[in-house]
Each structure stands twice: as structure tokens, then as C-alpha cells.
């Protein structure tokens, strides 16, 4: 999550105080990602150093100061909003690695391992859903942030379901058979985070 750009986005609406920025950030994101004052302060300092924001009091920047976005800051924000995040190479996902490894470990029932993770994922989703259910209708930021988390967890569980079904059909663990993946894919699974 880019706190820097989120703060720029809030400042694009007009000048704001540091503490106000913190409150508005939390309100917009449904308080799902709490920010501490120190984080706001250091981020604003960096933004000011890079000429992306200006503060009222050039002598000393602190969260109590008022801040406004500069033309460079506006430009940076517009660029960032349209730049896709890194999605092209698979993340080094700990859960994926656990399941791939578990399939070859003697004495481990990979389906039990999958079920344990599935249950945990569903339990987390129950908590997020409860949070969304408790939220008032006007809390759009919260609903959007919770949806994002629910879709992420849902995709994890779908992958577990697919892995479960695939492994039930597979004749033997991949470690027992010859190379499980073609070299190109193997490189990608071990790709960067």
C-alpha cells in the first residue's frame, strides 16, 4: 500500500493538516489500515523534501502544519493512479509453497493440510463478512476494503479447492515423477515477490 500516494490523493482535494490527513486516510479505507502519526509525519517530510507537497511553515514540518500539493505532486499522483501494480510475475506465496511441498512429504496427508488452510481462510472470511455486515451503508471505504480482502481470500480458497481436486486425480506426488514443471514455469513459480 502506498501511503505516500494516498496522502497525495487526499491533498489533491485541498490543503490539509497532518492529523487531518491521518483521520481522512483511515476513514476512506474503512480503518482497515490504521496509520500512526509518526508514519504520516515521516511520509509528509519525504514528500516535502521531494517537492511534491509544501507546508505552511517551511522552518519545521510536523503533523500540526498545513500541507498543500505542488504541481509536481499532482503530476506524480496522476502517473501513479494509472501505473499498474506489479502483477505479472507470481508472488512467492508461502501457502502455495507449503502445498506443493506437502504433496511430496512422506506421512503427510496433503488433503488434510489443504483442509486446515481452507478452514482458516473461511474463518477469516467470516470475520471480514461480519465486519461488512456491521458497517453502516454510507461506509463505502470500509465495504470496498473488505471486498478486496474477501476476494483475495476467496481466490486462495478456490486455488486450494482446485489443488485438492487435481491432487486427488494425480497418480503420484510430483517429487516421485520426473520434473513436475517445465523449466520455464519452474522459474516463474520461484519468481520474485
Amino acid at each position: 500500500m502506498s501511503v505516500k500516494h494516498a496522502l497525495l490523493a487526499l491533498l489533491s482535494e485541498g490543503p490539509k493538516y497532518g492529523l487531518q490527513l491521518r483521520q481522512e486516510f483511515e476513514a476512506r479505507t474503512g480503518e482497515v489500515w490504521p496509520l500512526n502519526v509518526g508514519q504520516v509525519y515521516t511520509t509528509l517530510q519525504r514528500l516535502e523534501r521531494d517537492g511534491l507537497v509544501e507546508s505552511d511553515d517551511a522552518a519545521e514540518s510536523s503533523p500540526q502544519n498545513g500541507f498543500r500539493i505542488t504541481p509536481d505532486g499532482e503530476h506524480e499522483l496522476q502517473e501513479w493512479l494509472r501505473t499498474p501494480p506489479e502483477l505479472s510475475s507470481p508472488p512467492r506465496d508461502e501457502l502455495v509453497i507449503k502445498i506443493l511441498v506437502a504433496f511430496g512429504v512422506p506421512g503427510v496427508d496433503v488433503h488434510e493440510v489443504i483442509q486446515a488452510h481452507r478452514r482458516y481462510g473461511v474463518e477469516l472470511m467470516q470475520q471480514w463478512t461480519r465486519l461488512k455486515d456491521d458497517a453502516a451503508e454510507h461506509e463505502l471505504g470500509l465495504a470496498l476494503a473488505v471486498d478486496a480482502e474477501l476476494f483475495r481470500l476467496d481466490s486462495v480458497i478456490r486455488w486450494l479447492d482446485a489443488a485438492d481436486a487435481r491432487m486427488r486425480r494425480a497418480p503420484a506426488p510430483p517429487g516421485v515423477r520426473s520434473p513436475a514443471l517445465p523449466p520455464r514455469l519452474r522459474r516463474r513459480v520461484g519468481g520474485r515477490r
Binding site: E31, V32, W33, P34, L35, N36, Q39, Q115, R118, R119, G121, V122, E123, L124, M125, Q126, Q127, W128, T129, R130, L131, D133, D134, D147, L150, F151, L153, D154, I157, R158, D161, D164, A165
Partner: protein
């Protein structure tokens, strides 16, 4: 008194010379006001569990109690009355009668149960109102959107004095926002004291439940623990 209880329920279908074990020794207790989701892949026995819970099918062995009443000790007529009065069903494909308007569809179970047309329609209209569909009451199913049709189906399932709501993939092919609306309705019905059982392979639907039971090859293999309050999620977020 429990709303629904399955005790050692097994169901075996004959498939030519061989047998298919759809359910194997399933125990399940659902309390009034509780929403339980049954999750499992295709062929895990989810739908069989639901039809047996709703007395649409009988188990090969084991017992089913609805509202404390043992189904096997009831006559066929008594079971039919129980289905009309106490149990509401929501199916994946809505199952609305195309020749009846929305309100007539909702009122139908009451009318079949001997309630006069006028009070039945009034109850139907009230159920539709609660689901935000009062202005669609006189439309026919083919004049409604998919989301509206499913809401009518939920209204029909909760109209009158139902104690048990059974739903098989209730969001069907709805998009996620409409699916959420359907689950909110089911959840709200449960808060009013109705016991709900939703079978689904969709974790997003299941996450509305108080408890999720995992079915695999006809057996209950696992279930979730009672969820912690949502505030624990926010506390656990790193303040990085």
C-alpha cells in the same frame, strides 16, 4: 429445542449393480437463529443433505428431526404440512412459477396451506416489502431481473411463520453484489430466529454463516470455530 437435527444420516443410491454412498453417518445440529453453511465440492453430498433435511427425500439410515419432530414418526400428510408451514426452500434456479406474479408466487405456500387468498397476498406483499420489492409485486417472473427473481424466491421461503430456511446455491448465477444482497436477506431472516442451512461451494456465500461445515465424499470432515468478533481483524493489522 433444535431447529434441525440429523443423527447418523446415511443415504445410499442404487446405481445399477453398484451403490453410491451420497451421505455417510452425518450428524448435524442447527439451532434456531443459527445460519450454517455446508461447503463441499460437486458430488460431496451437499444437495442430498439439504433434500433430506427438508423431508423431500428420506435417509437410508439415521434420523431427521425438524423443530424437535422426528420425520419418520410423521405421516406423509404431516410431513407435507411441515414442508408447507415450517420449511422454506431457495433453489439455485429460483423455481418461480412463470404464470404467477411475484406476490402470487410468494403467497402460494400460504394458500396451499389453506390461508385465504386475501390474507395470503397481504403476507406475501409484506414479505416483498421487507426485501425492497413492493413495486415489483404485480410483475411476472420474466419481467424481473435475476437479482429480483432470487429475492422473490427468498421472500417465498420466509413468508408466514417459517422456522427453517434451506438454500441450495442461493446466489445461482448472480453477480457478487446481488449475491451479497441475497445472503443479507437470509442472514436477516436468521437473526429473527429462523434457522438456516445454505449449501454452496462458494466461500463468499459461506462466510455469511455463523458456522461452516465441510462435506467431503458424504462425510462431515471439518467445521469452523465460532468466529472472533470483527474488531480482532483490525487489532491484528500491523501498524507498520
Amino acid at each position: 429445542m433444535t431447529a434441525l437435527e440429523l443423527r447418523g444420516v446415511s443415504k445410499v443410491y442404487a446405481d445399477g449393480a453398484s451403490e453410491v454412498h451420497a451421505l455417510r453417518n452425518v450428524d448435524l445440529v442447527v439451532q434456531p437463529g443459527e445460519l450454517v453453511a455446508v461447503m463441499g465440492p460437486s458430488g460431496s453430498g451437499k444437495s442430498t443433505l439439504l433434500t433430506i433435511a427438508g423431508s423431500l427425500e428420506h435417509p437410508t439410515t439415521g434420523e431427521v428431526l425438524v423443530g424437535g419432530n422426528l420425520l419418520t414418526s410423521m405421516s406423509r400428510n404431516e410431513q407435507a404440512r411441515l414442508r408447507r408451514r415450517s420449511i422454506g426452500y431457495v433453489f439455485q434456479d429460483f423455481n418461480l412459477l412463470p404464470g404467477l406474479t411475484a406476490v402470487e408466487n410468494v403467497a402460494l405456500p400460504l394458500e396451499l396451506d389453506g390461508v385465504h387468498a386475501k390474507p395470503a397476498q397481504a403476507a406475501g406483499l409484506q414479505a416483498l416489502e421487507e426485501l425492497g420489492l413492493a413495486d415489483r409485486a404485480s410483475r411476472f417472473p420474466d419481467e424481473l431481473s435475476g437479482g429480483e427473481r432470487q429475492r422473490v424466491a427468498v421472500a417465498r421461503a420466509v413468508v408466514g411463520d417459517r422456522h427453517l430456511l434451506l438454500a441450495d446455491e442461493p446466489s445461482g448465477a448472480l453477480d457478487s453484489i446481488n449475491a451479497e444482497a441475497v445472503m443479507r436477506l437470509v442472514h436477516t431472516a436468521c437473526r429473527r430466529g429462523v434457522a438456516g442451512v445454505v449449501v454452496t461451494h462458494d466461500a463468499q456465500l459461506a462466510s455469511w454463516a455463523d458456522r461452516v461445515v465441510f462435506l467431503r465424499d458424504g462425510r462431515v470432515v471439518d467445521q469452523t470455530s465460532p468466529p472472533a468478533g470483527p474488531e480482532s481483524l483490525l487489532r491484528s493489522q500491523p501498524r507498520a
